[in-house]
Symmetry: C2
Amino acid sequence: MRGTLRADGERKRALIYDTALALFREKGFDATTMRDIAKSAGISLGSAYHYFPSKVAIVFAYYEEVQDAHEERVRKKLPRTDGLLERLTLVFETKLELVRRDRQLLGAIGATLVQPGNELSAFSVEGRDFLQRSVALFDAALEPLATTPEARRTMALLLWTAHLGMMLRLVHDDSRGQKRTKSLVSRALTMAVPLLQLAATPMGAGLLAQLRSLLEENGLMPLPEETLSEG
Amino acid sequence: MRGTLRADGERKRALIYDTALALFREKGFDATTMRDIAKSAGISLGSAYHYFPSKVAIVFAYYEEVQDAHEERVRKKLPRTDGLLERLTLVFETKLELVRRDRQLLGAIGATLVQPGNELSAFSVEGRDFLQRSVALFDAALEPLATTPEARRTMALLLWTAHLGMMLRLVHDDSRGQKRTKSLVSRALTMAVPLLQLAATPMGAGLLAQLRSLLEENGLMPLPEETLSEG
DNA sequence: GTCTATACCCGGATAGAC
DNA sequence: GTCTATCCGGGTATAGAC
């Protein structure tokens, strides 16, 4: 039966995935070999490669799951959260909590992201969707700001950049419970909120507009080409 | 003779280095193997590893050279350059020009920099000197700003962060002559200068002080421990 | 036709003889 | 300090089990 086969395949894929993540967390990314994973999952090496084309592919699957979970948790709590600071804190801290224990994996992702020509970089077409989904969460958090959608989107992208900084800090943060990164986030947000509010006023409009065109030209912001589906 | 021996060793090291860089530039970092390098330099694989402990070590030697060259060029021209925008442009564009053609190598550096526990990260003790040297150039460029040394140093560190962003953009920029990154730098600086001038006023002092303690706690800014050499 | 076992290639890194 | 031989692990190719 078709369904059974597919379900089997998916179960197997999940088995490999779970086994791999367990090993990564236990021994670290580099120290875990594909042979370890296959052996520990009780399958052959070839089979593992059948489901995941490479070791990093497993890590990217992990990151996709993180992205899903982040989205779900934030979308659930955001409507009940008032205040710009609280809303932004929610987005940042939820993300941090999701990835906190997986610094090694984040390092592996980061490493492939800085490779020239990498398909998954934010600057590439293929990585665009990933970026947009993530930025959308920050955009949603900014809802209380009374400003134009464009300005909001620009600020959301800036926040996403800041979130990248958080990830970089996290990777090197071996303090207990990653409290250093936590403290960084909370203090940085406290400083950022008034600036965002300032940027949302007519006074900040000019600056934001300049920023926006800068970001657009570097492929970080989609030029308004959605219009073609409206015609 | 001692001197001759050392000179021989250095000459050999330089030979490996030059050969490696030529190959990196010709075929790219990944596609160039240590065996290629050794063969092309006319020595054995083991010998190559005697002079450089790893493939990335060669790249870091390159980066140190870049750092030296950047320092030299900037220090030479800075005294003859007036105006904040011009001075900052000098620092950024000189750096860009130095590394522009070596995106693959920069990627390799970036990849090791995001590995947890890496000794050369800016957050680590070992990478501190590297960071400080680089920040000092931005600090020097900010000289025309009438403000406190602490505030200036904070801004310099922010600019260094921005310079990291430039590098990330550069790695993915395959436009002709990397004009995209060039344009990004020039436009971003035009926007940044008024903000820096604003931050240098008493109005910006509070914000900068907050920023400073944030950066200090994350090991990016040296706590004033130089005082011990003064006693 | 789907998965496994296994042998193999490649390249980074190391050991140890000289 | 140099070289050869070797290890190790990611990734691939393939032959055959079922």
